[in-house]
């Protein structure tokens, strides 16, 4: 007798992917609940704070997940796999943007949209955002994965398919670059 599983709440991500591969919509919904918001936020920050673009990419990501669930290697971490797919999607978008160059107005609007009580802090945030938007794709991805998504170096090295040593050294030089670029904020009253 076939037992249809109604709840996947206690399943691991990897078990849920197996469920999706078997055609379970409930497993898919559970996985969306876990990662939908997270991936939306990731795409939003990666893709010039553009809500529409982030929305499209989340749809695309989960459709891809559904299509390729049977090809998922259970030995691999699901979140790493998901971020790898998302990273590739972002790369595609960067490529498209390089051709079109149409996202610049969106980028500037997003930078100026936040209002803070502490003007120095607001300036600092804007400066970070402006700097991030100007960073090359690889550096921006590295910053977001390491400092915004708070992923570990081994996970990042898996997502970006780079050796751990390379990831570490790139993070080090990225921080050094940001320190120099934001040196004007060293003496402002923004620190605890």
């Amino acid at each position: 007798m076939n037992i249809v599983k109604l709840s996947y709440e206690n399943e691991t991500d990897e078990q849920l992917v197996s469920g999706i591969a078997a055609g379970s919509k409930a497993a898919f919904n559970t996985l969306y609940q876990r990662y939908g918001q997270k991936m939306y936020s990731y795409f939003y920050r990666m893709l010039w704070q553009n809500h529409e673009l982030a929305e499209d990419q989340v749809q695309e990501l989960f459709i891809r997940l559904f299509r390729h669930a049977h090809g998922f290697n259970n030995k691999r971490s699901f979140s790493t796999w998901l971020y790898s797919i998302a990273h590739n999607q972002c790369k595609n978008e960067y490529r498209k943007a390089a051709v079109k160059m149409k996202h610049k107005p969106v980028m500037n609007e997003a930078v100026n949209s936040n209002a803070e009580k502490n003007p120095d802090l607001q300036k600092f945030k804007s400066a970070i955002q402006a700097k991030l938007n100007l960073l090359p794709e690889e550096k921006k991805t590295l910053f977001i994965l390491r400092f915004e998504e708070q992923l570990s170096v081994p996970v990042i090295s898996n997502i970006l398919e780079l050796p751990e040593g390379t990831v570490k050294s790139r993070i080090f030089y990225l921080l050094k670059e940001l320190r120099d670029e934001l040196s004007a904020f060293k003496h402002l009253s923004i620190y605890p």
């Binding site: 997270k38 939306y40 939003y44 929305e55 459709i63 936040n114 910053f143 620190y191």
Partner: protein, 200 residues
């Protein structure tokens, strides 16, 4: 521990001498250290900057998923049908091919080029050189005409019907010949009678 992890977890005052040495290149002063610490703190909060994921996104996704599921089944069935028909056609083709084989073998054989056999020099290898008194050549085997039995395989001469003109010519020639060699003629021939006398 990685440099960025030290910065995130500790204040400048909490750093050990060893950690300060590790971080010396990246953050040589407390100001640099604090600035990067704030930068990382803001970055960690940035995840919430995107706001809530739109609720209609889930609906859109469900619709897409539905559309994805149904054609998938259709395509799968179509694929199975196509695969089955290909296999059936293949089997049919093999069966037909097997039936046609005896005839088609000759038909499909490539046109063979004539093989040239090396000619052996029979004049040298087989010829027997006879020497007087020693080797007597074999008698040629001539079949005795009396012993030959006609088993019906020997063709009889076919009588060719002669034309009327030809018959008349032959009769006339015979008559003239008989007429020309009469007894009188023989007696009158001196040479002939002297020859007969000489013989007898």
């Amino acid at each position: 521990m990685e440099p960025e992890e030290i910065i995130q977890q500790k204040t400048w005052e909490q750093l050990t001498n060893q950690e300060k040495i590790v971080l010396a290149e990246l953050v040589p002063t407390p100001e640099d250290y604090n600035m990067l610490k704030k930068l990382m703190a803001l970055a960690a909060d940035a995840a919430s900057s995107s706001g809530e994921v739109p609720s209609e996104l889930r609906l859109k996704l469900e619709n897409k998923l539905e559309a994805e599921l149904n054609p998938k089944r259709k395509y799968r069935m179509a694929f199975y049908y196509a695969a089955a028909s290909i296999v059936a056609l293949f089997v049919l083709f093999i069966l037909l091919k097997k039936q046609e084989k005896p005839e088609s073998d000759w038909a499909t054989l490539p046109k063979a080029d004539p093989v040239e056999k090396p000619l052996t020099d029979t004049a040298i290898t087989k010829e027997k050189i006879t020497t007087a008194g020693t080797d007597v050549p074999d008698k040629p085997k001539i079949p005795d005409p009396l012993k030959i039995q006609d088993s019906g395989s020997i063709r009889k001469p076919v009588s060719i019907p002669l034309a009327v003109d030809d018959k008349q010519t032959i009769e006339r020639t015979e008559k003239e010949y008989t007429k020309s060699i009469s007894v009188q003629d023989l007696l009158e021939d001196d040479n002939l009678s002297s020859f007969i006398t000489a013989v007898y």
